[in-house]
Symmetry: C2
Subunit: 436 residues, 2 copies
């Protein structure tokens, strides 16, 4: 295969590029309506509805509700049954994810102003978190670690995980990862019905305070629809990588990195931008040369055909303009001096610096989270982290001198807003008062 | 009037309390459908649609689009025209809000692990923020400060404010507050059409990256529907206060604090919980005695009748159980020793400590933000802050030794997930390679 080629210098580039990165899907309204009906049904009928959808959509005819919950013992058995090296890899990854999450914990704020008023924010963990992990073909133990470990580090009281098991087939790696991450409860349910059950609770499934984790279009729609009732971290879209290359890297490494993104699914987006036309040719040749060896070549081809591109740019500044326009989930700086580009980057989910840092390190074990903002949402959101499982509570404690100083300011502004009770409430604290 | 009385010891309490705090509104689906149509219309017709809705819904017949934008000069004129004391109050509040926001800024993370890998998170401000400020009867300059000042402190590049001006009437305080806060552009539009315009952009209105600020049910629905396309801070519901009282406070102060919450609108929720029955009687009497003097007595009566309550509890531990069940937006600890209760509080938006710290201080000038999580969303979200206008970008830089150590872990986990290109991409970095 030969990859799509674009050039930022072409008059048609903006239009071509917009078409390539367009995310509006015509089916969205249908999906939203279908999901809304499922949520309403689960709210009304609880377990019964969850069981019916699971039997039908996950092809688990006649399964009993009790059989949908996986015990801690079962998770532990899966971990114990792993090959020693596999278990060591899982535990090493969990350890690195945990130590990075530790560095993210929100620090409380507390100080006194000149009038002796005490101001601050105390920090509390989310009490109960729900984690959605995709199942079936896309069951990834790494996603279980990436979602559950930061929650554990943040001090979440109970972690409830849901992950569908089509035809009842369990993924032993996923069970083992849940054991390593310290998942408290695990239900093999998925789709919009699982999100609805976590958001509203049923007889068997506890209501959670926040739902995180990736999923398909139905899961994403369900998360958006229950947002407000519970917290969510973001709404995930297709995964993306943008590689910025100066031509100093090995074209085969670049090809493999594009494959790594493209092999996720046909919707995955893998692009490389470079001012070096010969390098782009070399990467294209490497793609052709290496793709045949890829077990998932068919998916890779479909993804690269549909959403892949090798983009010629004028220079690295031109590349940075593209970076900030795309706000890529994953950004690889395959250049000799990645630090020189860092200041110019305003939007990205995660940055992988230099030739020796492939996205794959970040997907599994570098430490930073692989749950990242997709579809330009890096303009306003960040990687999942320990901070997503903590919240801040403001604390104000006025001193007597402070109350005397604050009251007249509040009174004046309250009167300006026509809120006379606010003014009276503030004024009462200005002077003495029966409480002294 | 006499306020509703509840007792946590009554068998019927849970049911009574659930009914009192129920938030499901039957009209929600209609509102969502109406809002979805407005958003689709604004996406399709841009300025033309925004202008039509504004002329109709804000009763601004025949207004031209250009007349909808307020210049920086106009904002400054409003500030210059304020009485000196009013201006001083506005500027003092802005200063206190800014200095608290400074304490909230997200610190970057950067460290090296044992293998010399560099790991961290860099912090970037939101590029363009949209701020929604209610207009008409509920136009509050304090909300302008509370939304715009933290954005400014975070380093947001451009702040675009929208606020409806029914019949074209401008609120000079709001214009002045926009000038003080450094709002860059200001359009007098509101409702779902304003949210849609900020989310998708029109010919005249720039597309923003995140939309914050309170609004009515249509605005809240619109924010939920555009979430994902842009960021939002939360979906605001009716404002709430819960006062925990041990009986050591002045009942009239408690009554005024209940009034201050209730005067916002008929949906506002004001409750007081105390183990001291005599104190509850005294507060009830103070409410009856003082309400007549309140210019907004009619609204206060409606709010207290509909959603107010004086709740008898067994002791302060019992009160804390109620606090955590309600997760109140505003929590006043009207007790002799508020610090003794702090550890027991898991969910609240903001806490006002002791008799001398009324919510009104926090509403205007204490420093912490008055945009707070409502409707039990304090279980998973926090006050608006500088951090809402910043985002984190993960940065990973593998050393040669680090790559040798990380590669085999990634390879093993990737193979476990059947993602062979991930494995190949990681393995390529394990040894030498043409890039050295």
């Amino acid at each position: 295969m030969s990859m799509r080629r674009l050039d930022t210098a072409d008059a048609a580039f903006d239009a071509q590029f917009a078409a390539l990165t367009d995310r509006d899907s015509p089916e969205q309204t249908e999906i939203d309506a279908r999901v809304a009906a499922i949520i309403a049904d689960v709210r009304e009928r609880g377990d019964e509805a969850v069981l019916e959808y699971t039997r039908e959509l996950d092809r688990r005819d006649g399964v009993a509700f009790d059989a949908l919950e996986i015990s801690r013992e079962r998770m532990q058995r899966a971990l114990d049954a792993l090959a020693a090296d596999d278990r060591a890899a899982l535990e090493a990854a969990a350890e690195r994810i945990a130590s990075f999450a530790e560095s993210q914990k929100i620090a409380p704020v507390r100080y006194h102003d000149d009038d002796g008023n005490e101001l601050g924010q105390i920090v509390r963990p989310i009490e109960r978190a729900g984690i959605y992990a995709p199942g079936g073909k896309a069951a990834y133990p790494s996603s279980v670690l990436m979602n559950a470990v930061p929650a554990k580090v943040a001090g979440v009281g109970e972690i409830v995980m849901v992950s569908p098991a089509p035809e009842g087939v369990l993924n032993e790696w996923v069970l083992a990862a849940a054991a390593v991450a310290g998942v408290d409860r695990f239900f093999t349910i998925g789709g919009a019905q699982a999100v609805a059950a976590l958001a509203y609770g049923t007889e068997h499934i506890p209501e959670v305070d926040k739902i995180v984790g990736p999923g398909n279009a139905y899961v994403a729609s369900a998360k958006r629809q229950v947002f407000g009732r519970v917290g969510i971290e973001s709404v995930a879209g297709p995964s993306e990588v943008l590689i910025v290359a100066d031509g100093t890297g090995d074209p085969e490494w670049a090809a493999l990195d594009l494959f790594a993104q493209a092999e996720h699914d046909e919707m995955a987006r893998a692009m490389l931008v470079s001012p070096d036309a010969d390098y782009l040719d070399a990467v294209d040749a490497a793609v052709e040369r290496l793709i045949a060896d890829q077990p998932r070549a068919a998916i890779i081809r479909a993804a690269l055909d549909g959403h892949g591109a090798l983009i010629r740019c004028a220079d690295l500044d031109d590349a940075l303009r593209l970076v900030n326009a795309i706000a890529p989930e994953h950004l690889e700086l395959a250049v000799a001096d990645p630090d020189a580009l860092l200041d110019g980057i305003r939007h990205a989910g995660a940055i992988f610096m230099g030739h020796r840092t492939p996205e794959a390190f970040g997907d599994y074990c570098a430490g930073p989270n692989h749950v990242l903002p997709t579809g330009r949402t890096a303009r306003f959101s960040s990687a999942l982290g320990a901070y997503d499982f903590q919240k801040r509570i403001s604390v104000v404690s006025a001193s007597e001198a402070g109350a005397r100083r604050l009251a007249p300011i509040a009174v004046r502004l309250a009167e300006g807003e026509g809120l006379h009770a606010h003014a009276a409430s503030a004024a009462a604290r200005a002077g003495g008062g029966s409480t002294d």
